[in-house]
Symmetry: C2
Subunit: 84 residues, 2 copies
């Protein structure tokens, strides 16, 4: 799971394009993705190239048995409660 | 971990106030929190009262051995890489 706080539209747009190659956008500032080790390593090597100090990007490694609860509308139209 | 997409300032502000009672804000739209089962149950019973259908709130239950990587500035001034 990747979340980001990037005020600059251009930098944020570029990061979004990068992340779209790896997973699905679930909120304006959040992507969920299922990655193998190679993809994960690749992604974390690229992210620092897309951002500057004032930005903030966080990656959470979730276990497969991790649980997600969701309310309200959803960019991906998933079911209300999903188990990943 | 709680993330939210809420365009309405008033509703978002109220939800932020609620979440501040449970954990720390790590991005504009994200909180991390360590909760016992009672607090967790309490929180997920309250969230639906704070939002409407057009909003989106997601809760990720992370294992204690979950890993977080972070780049750039951070609202909480944590170290760059934290293990939760």
């Amino acid at each position: 799971m990747v979340i980001y706080d990037i005020t600059d539209n251009k930098r944020r747009g570029k990061l979004v394009k990068l992340l779209e190659g790896y997973g699905k956008r679930v909120q304006k500032s959040a992507f969920e993705m299922i990655l193998n080790q190679k993809q994960y390593d690749e992604l974390i090597s690229k992210i620092p190239l897309y951002i500057i100090q004032e930005d903030n990007v966080r990656i959470y490694k979730l276990r497969l048995e991790g649980e997600v609860l969701a309310w309200g509308s959803n960019l991906t139209q998933d079911e209300e409660v999903v188990i990943i």
